[in-house]
């Protein structure tokens, strides 16, 4: 895979991740209704074709849309919920079957906190998800962490609905290793 296509994969992954969150309550089409239409990724005209058919269990699209690429946290917590662990179990199975992919584990917080603390909290969340995947046999060498704190919300509405989906760890498929 070329560098360019890797970059496109990452961008497309971000756009898809934003658009296919089942708890966002919005459409999956990247339209404006759920606030993702103007985020710069969808408008870039990136095709979802790179990611494969979500019906193909080996596709990145399947990982993102069917398995779910993210887990959520309660306020100020980095403890994995039962639902989150189930998602990570499924992620681990996919990652263990598709070992060519490396992962960026993104940690995020909602907006109700100071910037510095939220970067630390986001790192805690990303680390919690990463450690869980390691426990399920995913190699630590394939993963790295990035915390965005409160500064990369999937949706901004200053209400509980958005805070709940912004407190998250996202397993972003970053590219092909080795």
């Amino acid at each position: 895979m070329t560098l360019t296509s890797k970059a496109l994969l990452v961008l497309a992954g971000l756009a898809l991740a934003a658009c296919n969150n089942p708890r966002a309550g919005g459409t999956f089409g990247g339209g404006g209704a759920d606030g993702f239409g103007n985020d710069g990724f969808v408008d870039a005209g990136i095709s979802t074709g790179n990611l494969g058919d979500p019906n193909d269990p080996r596709s990145v699209a399947h990982f993102q849309q069917r398995i779910g690429d993210r887990v959520f946290f309660t306020t100020d917590s980095s403890s994995l919920t039962a639902e989150g662990r189930a998602t990570l179990d499924a992620q681990a199975r996919w990652l263990n079957a598709n070992t060519q992919f490396s992962i960026v584990m993104e940690g995020h917080a909602d907006e109700r906190g100071t910037r510095d603390y939220n970067i630390a909290l986001g790192e805690r969340r990303a680390n919690a998800a990463m450690q869980y995947l390691i426990g399920q046999g995913v190699s630590a060498n394939r993963m790295r962490v990035v915390s965005y704190g409160k500064d990369r919300p999937v949706e901004a509405c200053a209400a509980q609905r958005c805070w709940d989906i912004n407190r998250r760890a996202v397993t972003a498929i970053a590219g092909v290793t080795g």
Partner: protein, 441 residues
């Protein structure tokens, strides 16, 4: 990198002798005591400066307006506007008709003059106590280039503020901040710097990478900030005059953020998050020596030095919730100082050393507050959906911070440390994370 500063230069300062200066000191000088009590703003007048040649005419009015705006924005002064003036100042050296100023209830009169030749400019001013009919202090003269005309007005403002309050001013200073634009889900953030009154905004980064939390050095020449340009958060150090930039404080596998210069500028303290744990580290620029200051299995962030550089205030959740702690600048045991209700974040030591400003969240609201360095005498100055990132004016009288209304964009506000005079600081768009620099020489 774009040019960062229009060329700074040393403002030449000359003391003007005058007949008034030779008079014996007045028994009751024009004085505003800044206390906790309610202050009645002191009425002042600043007529258009006198143009001493035709080229000076372009600046005469503008200089006086900047002085008036500064003094008014401090909350300590109230302008008697030019249209209310009876007397006209047509010569800088002519006598002052005090009765005409008394008649419109002016207490402090500021007169000025400006002369321009080529790109050089000279600004003079005098301050008069209208009630006693005497000049306060000597007249002063500033010389510089015309593109720094606002700085000269700020210098005049600082001199007036200082003579009347007995404290140093803060008007000739700059503020680093993050200029924001675009949708919140994909925000563009640029490092920017501006005058304290929101003028002369310059952008130091191009917006391609997310940047956060700038901190200006005590000399005002360097800024530390957090950047995502290589993916994970890293620290960058930029020289605002040369535009030179470098990454510093990299720790393999760690997110590094929340930097703060040592008071002498010889190094920095910052946070590094790794393995679910965030600790404070200290780096000395010259030796490259890195020292880990905390090793608690918790979050330690938002460090701030005492002005003498011997102690560090920081935020930690080691007790279960965020609280403020103080430890030696070389690490070791930390003492918790915040014990009120709610959570305490982002301690920032006052330049006077006596107070610590902080962010507090309690019952769904955020506040900017101040407390003494032992945690006593806590005072909340603001309340809103989200107030954070306090920074001190160089004289320790005013705090600037980020305010975000629920569902709204962030903007910069300032408030007096007594909690009065809350004002929005004008910025070109949404703005956050102010860092107030020193009073310029």
């Amino acid at each position: 990198m774009t040019r960062l500063f229009h060329s700074l230069f040393a403002l030449a300062l000359v003391v003007l002798t005058s007949i008034a200066a030779l008079l014996p000191a007045q028994a009751q000088p024009l004085r505003l005591q800044i206390t906790e009590g309610v202050i009645e703003p002191m009425p002042f007048a600043v007529p258009a400066f006198v143009p001493e040649n035709s080229a000076g005419g372009a600046y005469a009015e503008r200089l006086s307006r900047v002085v008036a705006a500064n003094l008014t924005n401090s909350g300590l002064f109230r302008e008697v506007p030019p249209q209310a003036h009876i007397a006209r100042i047509s010569s800088f050296d002519a006598g002052v008709s005090y009765s005409d100023w008394r008649a419109v209830n002016v207490q402090a009169l500021i007169t000025g003059a400006v002369q321009v030749s080529g790109n050089r400019m000279t600004v003079k001013f005098r301050l008069f106590d209208v009630l006693t009919g005497q000049q306060v202090g000597d007249g002063l003269q500033f010389a510089g280039t015309t593109d720094s005309w606002r700085r000269m007005a700020h210098k005049v403002s600082d001199a007036v503020y200082s003579r009347i309050t007995g404290e140093s001013g803060y008007f000739d200073s700059r503020v680093a901040f993050i200029a924001e634009s675009g949708p919140r889900t994909n925000r563009t953030r640029r490092l920017a710097i501006m005058d304290q009154d929101g003028e002369n905004v310059q952008f130091l980064t191009d917006g391609r990478a997310m940047v956060l939390g700038p901190r200006m050095s005590n000399s005002g020449e360097r800024i530390l900030y957090t950047t995502y340009e290589t993916g994970t958060p890293r620290l960058a150090l930029i020289n605002t005059q040369s535009g030179q930039r470098q990454f510093i404080g990299d720790i393999p596998g760690a997110q590094v953020f929340s930097p703060r210069f040592t008071p002498d500028g010889s190094g920095l303290v910052f946070s590094a998050a790794r393995g679910g744990n965030t600790d404070l580290y200290r780096l000395t620029f010259s030796s490259g020596q890195m020292l880990q200051l905390t090793s608690s299995p918790s979050i330690a962030t938002a460090p701030s030095f005492s002005p003498d550089g011997r102690q560090i205030a920081f935020e930690s959740d080691r007790s279960g919730t965020n609280q403020i702690y103080i430890m030696s600048a070389s690490g070791g045991e930390a003492r918790r100082i915040s014990f009120g209700q709610g959570r305490y974040s982002t301690p920032v030591w006052s330049p006077r050393g006596d107070l610590i400003a902080f962010t507090k969240s309690h019952a769904g609201r955020f506040h900017i507050g101040v407390m003494r360095t032992d945690g006593s005498e806590e005072r909340l100055l603001t309340a809103s959906f989200l107030d954070e990132s306090p920074t001190w004016a160089p004289n320790g009288r005013v705090i600037m911070f980020t305010r975000e209304a629920q569902g709204g964009d962030p903007s910069l506000f300032s408030v007096d440390i007594t909690g009065r005079n809350l004002r929005r600081v004008p910025t070109p768009g949404p703005a956050s994370d102010p860092s107030w620099g020193p009073l310029l020489p």
